[in-house]
């Protein structure tokens, strides 16, 4: 029997999720691509962390690694992933399928990835509950109805019998959240779930996620490229660039007093309601690094305006700039 590792036998602290030196390499191309180059973070139960970054920064890959969704034959994952006592990288197939959905659930940008188009939504949720909890179909349906009410779908009983294509975009997103919550996970991973939505619908979904996080005590990792969205859902923000976590801290601190030159550049290039017209926008020159051939030192060094020789000598160490606020930049260490 491959009984899942019991919860609460973690060696350290009260962290629900602990990520240590996570690396992800994609194989199969001419050269392996290092999508994630050594990421550390931890999250307590009931805490929401936003992973903020641009395309190719490694934020989605980090999320998928936590759920072991990356194709095993073409990826090499290193480091330690510990979630609610489970050694995620060591899970055997049976324990892994209990872990997915039971401990950790995920929602996506495209509900089409999570919902099967040829089954009624209520049946899909009921099936997940039956499979994980071994209950009857009727009990599964009852749980599905309860979940639809939980995510504020109007006329929930009728909507359970709908097919995914019969729902509007915002409603499909709510149905996907209901499906993710079907087996009472402790961790919710959200991969840009509101990016394709209108702002008016996006804010509704963000508020729902915040409510669920609070009421159910979920730990949430929310991947986004939008600073405003990150601030709306998360207490802490982790900024990723070129496969590295370059800055992490309370959202107010990271947005208000950014320490890393990349975070500063990203925030400076944002257009706000107060941006004066006709003034050129600040930009970060160049484009993100090629991950098949990453720069030897700091990933941001080729685009950074504050480079010193030390920047090229390996990845800068993590420097605390304030309690709970750290960044990887050699300039912060007083060079």
């Amino acid at each position: 029997m491959n009984a899942p590792v019991r919860a609460n036998d973690t060696a350290s602290s009260d962290a629900l999720i602990e990520v240590r030196d996570l690396t992800v390499d994609f194989l199969g191309g001419r050269k392996p691509v290092r999508a994630v180059g050594g990421v550390d973070f931890s999250i307590r139960a009931g805490e929401a962390l936003a992973l903020l970054g641009e395309s190719g920064s490694g934020k989605s890959v980090t999320l998928r690694a936590l759920m072991r969704l990356l194709p095993e034959s073409r990826t090499r994952i290193g480091g330690h992933l510990r979630v609610d006592g489970h050694d995620v990288l060591g899970l055997k197939p049976k324990a892994l399928s209990a872990y997915r959905g039971g401990t950790v659930a995920m929602i996506f940008q495209d509900p089409g990835l999570a919902l099967d188009p040829v089954y009624r939504i209520g049946d899909q949720i009921a099936e997940a509950v039956m499979r994980h909890e071994g209950v009857s179909r009727a009990a599964g349906r009852a749980r599905a109805l309860e979940l639809f009410e939980r995510v504020h779908i109007p006329s929930p009983a009728r909507r359970l019998d709908a097919y995914p294509h019969e729902l509007s975009g915002g409603m499909r997103q709510r149905a996907m959240i209901a499906l993710a919550l079907a087996c009472r996970p402790k961790v919710l991973l959200a991969d840009e779930p509101t990016t394709a939505l209108d702002a008016t619908v996006q804010i509704q979904i963000l508020l729902l996620l915040r409510e669920l996080q609070r009421d159910l005590g979920l730990a949430v990792i929310f991947v986004t490229h939008d600073v405003g969205v990150a601030v709306q859902v998360a207490d802490r923000v982790a900024v990723m660039y070129g496969g590295h976590l370059v800055e992490v801290g309370a959202s107010g601190a990271v947005i208000g007093t950014p320490a890393h030159p990349y975070t500063r550049g990203l925030l400076a290039s944002r257009i706000t309601p107060d941006s004066p017209k006709g003034v050129r926008l600040a930009t970060i020159p160049g484009s993100p690094p090629d991950l098949a051939d990453p720069p030897p030192g700091c990933p941001f060094e080729p685009r950074c305006g504050l480079v010193v020789p030390a920047c090229r000598e390996g990845l800068p160490a993590r420097v605390a700039v304030a309690p709970g606020h750290a960044a990887r930049c050699v300039r912060l260490a007083g060079v």
Partner: protein, 346 residues
């Protein structure tokens, strides 16, 4: 710059583009027994764009902003309505479709889908001028010149295929391609929406430079109100195929008179952790354009809706100089109990 353009006809006071009563309905998904109800994508839209200005267009999905753009580009034909370009009616003897399309070009959101994957970057940019009669050598020379102006060194990028350049570079190619026919009006339909923020700022700066350099007029469609405010002189807000509000950008996005515009603004996530929202400004998704509600189309989601809003559709009325809003609230004597001639509290 615009008044020096030899192609200019009516002088700077004449709008470059005037749209009058534009209507486009799409046949609904039918059953075995006939057609379904029509999707009223654009349902009576009037506006004009002055020479050298940028008109921003905002609204939720399904409001008709992209359909309007496609009608302006004549990718699909309107059911009703006129398009007048610099005083000439499109389709008249003075302005046939080919002559019009030379002066109006468009950049789409999906930078990859809008380039032919089998053509190199320089061939794509040179394609339009060749189709309009330029020799191959002259077209290629123009392509190189334009690639250089959008920040792509032709010797390095010209021979590449679309999949060999990044998203931001591809959008620069699309901008060069759109400019290759020396248009006067450029329609940018979510042209920067798919780009990363740090790249978006680069492309917006480029668009500002090109506008000056070529004396262009822009129609700038985006869901990002901050970007629209930054780029636009005037803004048009659309809702379910109609214009809800149109006027100077600072007025529309600073002191909106239509509750829909106010709700759109309030829905933008703030970056201030102290200013988190606790309640969504609007509930539900935009209603279906197949069956728009009677009266004011927005009344089903409007927190100010009164009886008059359910029965009578408000027309666009002047609420301030050059500022029009289609809301009973903004027009004294409209029958709305709270109508007022001053802006609502934001």
């Amino acid at each position: 710059m615009t008044d020096l353009d030899p192609r200019d006809r009516g002088g700077p006071g004449q709008p470059l583009l005037t749209v009058d009563g534009l209507v486009k309905h799409f046949a609904g998904k039918g059953s075995l027994f006939g057609k379904g109800p029509a999707v009223r994508a654009v349902d009576g839209v009037d506006f004009s764009v002055m020479k050298g200005e940028t008109l921003g267009v905002v609204g939720e999905s399904g409001c008709g902003k992209s359909t309007t753009a496609r009608l302006l580009m004549q990718i699909s034909r309107q059911d009703k309505g006129d398009i007048v370009f610099d005083g000439e009616l499109l389709g008249s003897r003075a302005l046939d479709l080919k002559a019009y399309r030379r002066q109006v070009q468009m950049v789409f959101q999906d930078s990859y889908a809008s380039l032919n994957p089998r053509l190199t970057v320089e061939e794509s940019v040179a394609f339009g001028p060749k189709a309009h009669g330029l020799s191959s050598a002259a077209a290629l020379a123009r392509a190189h010149d334009l690639l250089r102006r959008v920040g792509l060194e032709p010797r390095r990028f010209g021979g590449r295929y679309p999949h060999e350049v990044s998203g931001g570079q591809r959008q620069r190619v699309n901008i060069a391609r759109a400019l290759a026919l020396e248009p006067r009006l450029l329609i940018l339909d979510e042209a920067v929406s798919a780009l990363d923020k740090s790249v978006e700022a680069q492309v917006l700066n480029l668009l500002t430079d090109l506008k000056q350099e070529f004396g262009l007029t822009y129609i700038f469609i985006s869901h990002d109100l901050n970007v629209v405010r930054f780029m636009s002189d005037r803004v048009m807000v659309m809702y379910l195929g109609r214009v809800a509000e149109i006027g100077p950008a600072d007025a529309i996005l600073g002191a909106p008179r239509h509750p829909y515009t106010a709700a759109l603004l309030a829905s933008q996530p703030s970056t201030d952790p102290e200013a988190r929202l606790d309640e969504a400004p609007l509930t539900g998704d935009p209603p279906n354009p197949i069956n728009p509600p009677p009266g004011c189309r927005f009344h089903t989601r409007c927190k100010f809706a009164a009886d008059v809003c359910r029965t009578r559709e408000p027309g666009l009325a002047a609420v301030a100089p050059a500022h029009l809003a289609a809301c009973h609230l903004a027009v004294p004597g409209s029958g709305h109990p709270d109508s007022s001639p001053v802006p609502m509290a934001a």
